[in-house]
């Protein structure tokens, strides 16, 4: 019998592709529409990570299918002549996966620090 996405342990989704983790991070504190996710990611990374519309919506589609993200409804956007925009938010599973990936990366950073690859001042 096929397992529902909710049945999968969060660790089974790891490691996450970079774009996927960026989107989960953008949705961790609030629901957002596509462009707001894109802006959040670009601003947080000082422009180093830029998601194009195709990458963004392709990843959102997979996250929706995996049950990590859900649609939060549509709202009119005054910035775009009140065009209706679809909002996305994390599900409980999505939040658990984002936390698990953060812990995984934290453990890696701890190892890198122990091996004095980082944390010794400017390289």
């Amino acid at each position: 019998m096929a397992r529902r996405p909710d049945d999968r342990p969060p660790e089974s989704f790891l490691p996450l592709p970079a774009a996927t983790f960026q989107i989960l991070l953008a949705l961790a504190d609030d629901e957002r529409h596509g462009y707001a996710i894109m802006k959040e990611v670009a601003d947080r990374s000082d422009g180093a990570v830029r998601l194009g519309p195709g990458t963004l919506y392709g990843t959102l589609k997979r996250l929706l299918e995996g049950g990590l993200v859900e649609e939060g409804g549509e709202k009119a956007d005054p910035e775009l002549e009140n065009e209706r925009r679809r909002y996305y938010r994390l599900t409980r599973l999505g939040l658990a996966v984002a936390r698990a990936e953060s812990r995984r990366l934290e453990a890696l950073v701890r190892i890198a620090r122990r091996k004095k690859l980082i944390g010794l001042g400017p390289a």
Partner: protein, 198 residues
């Protein structure tokens, strides 16, 4: 042409279902990127093209896989193969009956003529059964069942009355309907439909 139109053209690289679900949103995001993004138009369009080139093939592949997994029914694939075989075997039998007719000329008795006619009739019903199976109409299975039975009876009569046909024609004429009948009963077990009621 406006930049919106160009981007709408680019969106055609994505699968139809994906466009239907996210195309409008992607266009809105594109507009905002165009408005708020870098002033260099060449750089902006290069980034958009790179984004499409990077994301569209994977989404197309996913859509094809999903389509295949929903469309694939082993019994349907075999039905098509059997339909093609029925048309081919039927055509061979029809050609064979014509050859026998020409070879026999005027020196044949009534039973031999009956054999040729029965062989032609067997070939015709097999071709019709094959076409029905390929068109997958509501009564394809029942037609194929009837055709297989009729063909089997026709060639059994030929074998009994006047075996003027070649061994190969007889083997095909009797063997193929048996295989077709076996397939139709296997299919009944596979999808739960009775051959006469599919």
């Amino acid at each position: 042409m406006s930049s919106d139109r160009w981007y709408t053209l680019l969106l055609r690289a994505y699968p139809r279902g994906f466009r239907a679900q996210y195309g409008r949103e992607m266009l809105l995001v594109f507009r905002q990127c165009r408005r708020d993004g870098e002033r260099n138009a060449a750089g902006f369009w290069a980034a958009m093209l790179w984004d499409v080139a990077r994301s569209a093939p994977a989404l197309r592949l996913e859509a094809m896989r999903a389509q295949r997994s929903t469309d694939f029914h082993p019994a349907e694939g075999t039905m098509k193969t059997m339909g093609i075989l029925a048309v081919l075997v039927g055509a061979v039998e029809m050609i064979n009956s014509l050859i026998e007719e020409v070879a026999g000329g005027l020196h044949r008795d009534g039973l031999q003529l009956l054999s040729v006619v029965l062989c032609m009739a067997g070939g015709v019903v097999l071709v019709m059964a094959g076409i029905a199976m390929l068109r997958r109409g509501p009564r394809a299975s029942s037609r194929a069942l009837g055709a297989a039975a009729a063909c089997l009876v026709a060639f059994a009569l030929i074998a009994l009355a006047a075996p003027v046909m070649s061994g190969f024609a007889m083997l095909l004429g009797i063997g193929f309907p048996i295989v077709l009948l076996a397939f139709l009963f296997w299919r009944r077990g596979h999808d739960g439909t009775l051959p006469g009621m599919a």
